[in-house]
């Protein structure tokens, strides 16, 4: 409305300001801008103590999960080659005792981090990918198509997520991908709503009009202009999503809907319950997996809230 499109006479790379150095390509400028905003983001993030705590905890857990084959060895899951006897109390050899098959509980706990983190990350990534796609498309195109998409989103929003995930996991075969899909396809609507709102806000800015006037198509505008602007929001949403995905994974595994061939924290709790750890007061079997789940979920939540409040200081949540 206010901006008049510049006639496309010169083939100048878009985004170049007044040239200061000798060779300043659009790419180098863009990278410099990104570096600056990353530095700004970090210096602001650093002031959130809880966020830093979450980040440190995550780094530690991720390191443990990655080095698990070195720390405990992959035969820790083996039922046949178990090193101890069944249900031992904590000792020097088995700091947390053993389970009903004689496997070291500490080893299982370390190994379980791999599954819980993998499923949590994949499920959150799937959910956020669907949410972002639906959100951007609904926000960009508008019209009846968008209305239909948002109706579907609203309907998913009303569905009890856990029940839907449980039902999906029940009717599909038991493996990790089932769990990932069950969590991913049930938890995307919140992201879709947020991204759609942000897309509409971004597209009302003049530079989108300029891009259109220069001949930018739908794909170009969505990929190059809208997506980078919704990315920060998506990042915060992903971080928060991971923590609920990990909790849902533990819940599904506890209900016996996880992959029975791999060890996960939720699965350990199910085993503990079946082995009668509750009535025999076997604390060292029951407590650690739950603490691990809570710690990871809390760490992701703290990071997500810190990112959110850096990006949107008006929220005033994390402080």
């Amino acid at each position: 409305m206010t901006t008049t499109p510049t006639p496309p006479t010169k083939q100048v790379t878009p985004g170049t300001g007044p040239a200061t150095g000798p060779v300043r390509t659009a790419r180098s400028l863009a990278w410099e801008r990104r570096r600056h905003s990353m530095a700004r983001f970090w210096s602001s993030y650093r002031t959130h103590r809880a966020g830093l705590f979450g980040l440190a905890a995550l780094a530690l857990i991720a390191l443990t999960a990655l080095t698990a084959p070195l720390l405990v060895g992959s035969d820790v899951q083996s039922v046949t080659a178990a090193p101890g006897t069944a249900m031992e109390k904590p000792s020097g050899e088995f700091p947390l005792g053993t389970d009903q098959f004689g496997r070291s509980l500490l080893g299982l706990l370390v190994w379980g981090a791999r599954i819980s983190l993998t499923v949590g990350l994949l499920a959150a990534a799937l959910s956020v990918a669907i949410g972002t796609l639906v959100g951007i498309i609904a926000g960009h195109y508008g019209g009846w198509f968008s209305t239909v998409l948002m109706r579907i989103t609203d309907w998913f929003l009303v569905m009890p997520t856990l029940v839907l995930a449980i039902v999906l996991a029940t009717v599909m075969s038991r493996n990790i991908w089932t769990v990932v899909i069950a969590i991913g396809v049930t938890s995307w609507p919140t992201t879709a709503r947020l991204v759609r709102a942000q897309t509409i806000a971004v597209e009302s800015r003049p530079y989108i009009e300029r891009a259109k006037a220069l001949g930018g198509g739908h794909t170009h505008i969505m990929n190059r202009h809208v997506l980078p602007n919704v990315m920060p929001l998506v990042l915060a949403q992903t971080t928060l999503g991971i923590s609920s995905a990990i909790l849902t994974e533990a819940t599904l595994a506890f209900l016996g809907l996880g992959d029975p061939t791999v060890v996960s924290w939720g699965g350990m709790l199910q085993d503990a319950r079946e082995a009668g750890a509750v009535s025999s007061g076997h604390w060292s079997y029951l407590a650690p997996p739950g603490i691990a789940i809570a710690l990871v979920a809390l760490a992701f939540t703290l990071c997500g809230r810190a990112i959110e409040s850096v990006l949107n200081p008006k929220l005033g949540v994390a402080r």
Binding site: A50, D154, W155, V158, M159, P160, L162, V163, L164, I166, V167, L168, T170, V171, M172, S243, L247, A250, T251, F254, L255, G256, L257, G266, L269, A272, R273, V278, S279, G281, W283, L286, A287, P289, G290, I293, A294, L295, A297, L298, T301, L302, R305, L315, G316, V317, R319
Partner: protein, 350 residues
């Protein structure tokens, strides 16, 4: 607070209901109601359709699932198919299902050999009791702590409060339940078992003693639900009160010389309550589904426990019926929240 004038001709500052009902707003409100009712009906229909297709289109033979790997002859399979109407064409199964579902008939349970509707109806009161009590308690706690937190935001108390809530929120509810059972039911160290490990009643009490007995059984499950549930209410209340706190009307109230306490209770909190009210309703809708784990852990004889039993078979008609009930509860509660909202907040829905 309520300075938003209405287009009505008569009294302005009466009860919200009266205000919404006065003058030309009735029309707007009725339109709102009609729209929401229509939306809810569409959602319910969508839930019915989903629960049908989820179990038929996704790979897996219901009859195979029914026999659960047991050796079954082709004849037996065919008989089972006929018995459950699975030999009819898909569209006919679908119309039959829809017609039956609308009258509350979800077929026969595979494992209990009883109508799904009756099985569900038997379990509703237990779930309503458990989760109703829990929602009331955690909403109250969440509102109270959220208000305190926001009013003194940034203080040590606020940080402890929020940190505690976030930590408990990250804890898996079923695990907390197991720990509570170990500690208070089984007994830990010198601590004797004080509460029953599960169930709803001991079975031999009547009258007032029965009430006490049920309450005694409810303590641990309610505690679990409250612990993992209050964080959400707290956070919503806190952030909505923080939003209100910059408002001019609070400065005015303080300038009038009102005590801090009065400013909070009479001026800030009522306005900040609005988003939280929606939240409470949505929670009420969630509880039926949300208590699946807690009911399982505490062997509470409710819908959640039934769902778990149905899953382990898997008893498809029962899972299907419960799915509709859980989703239906969400839809109805959302509808109620939508309908109440314009009555509580005159700025909405006009």
């Amino acid at each position: 607070m309520s300075t938003t004038s209405t287009t009505g001709t008569t009294a302005v500052a009466r009860a919200p209901e009266a205000r919404a009902a006065s003058g030309g707003n009735v029309h707007a409100y009725l339109l709102h109601v009609a729209g929401r009712l229509g939306g809810a009906a569409v959602s319910l229909l969508a839930v019915l359709v989903t629960s049908f297709f989820l179990f038929r289109i996704i790979p897996g033979d219901p009859v195979k699932a029914m026999t659960h790997g047991m050796p079954t002859s082709a004849e037996q399979m065919a008989t089972l198919r006929r018995q459950f109407g699975l030999d009819k064409p898909m569209w006919q199964q679908f119309t039959d299902y829809c017609a039956n579902a609308l009258t509350g008939d979800f077929g026969m349970s595979y494992q209990f050999h009883a109508p799904v509707g009756d099985l569900i109806a038997q379990k509703v009161p237990a779930t309503l009791l458990l989760t109703g009590v829990a929602v009331v308690i955690y909403s109250a706690i969440g509102l109270w702590l959220g208000t305190r937190s926001a009013w003194r935001h940034g203080s040590l108390g606020d940080r402890l409060n929020t940190g505690m809530a976030l930590t408990l929120w990250s804890v898996p509810g079923f695990w907390l339940g197991l720990l509570l059972i170990i500690t208070f039911s089984v007994g830990f160290g010198p601590l004797p078992g004080m509460f029953p490990t599960g169930g709803m009643e001991s079975g031999n009490e009547t009258g007032f003693a029965y009430v006490i007995d049920v309450a005694h059984h409810m303590v641990l499950p309610v505690l679990t639900l409250v612990a993992v549930g209050y964080a959400q209410t707290l956070l919503v209340m806190r952030s909505s009160l923080l939003d209100e706190m910059g408002s001019d009307y609070l400065t005015t109230a303080r300038a009038k010389g009102l005590r801090d306490d009065v400013v909070r209770r009479r001026h800030a909190v009522p306005n900040a309550l609005l988003p939280t009210v929606t939240m409470v309703f949505i929670n009420l809708g969630h509880v039926a589904a949300g208590s699946i784990l807690v009911e399982t852990v505490f062997s509470w004889p409710g819908l959640g426990g039934l769902f778990y039993q149905a899953l382990s078979v898997p008893d498809l008609p029962l899972v299907q019926g419960l799915f509709v009930v859980f989703a239906g509860a969400m839809i109805v509660m959302n509808l109620l929240a939508d309908l109440l909202y314009p009555l509580l907040d005159p700025r909405v829905g006009r």
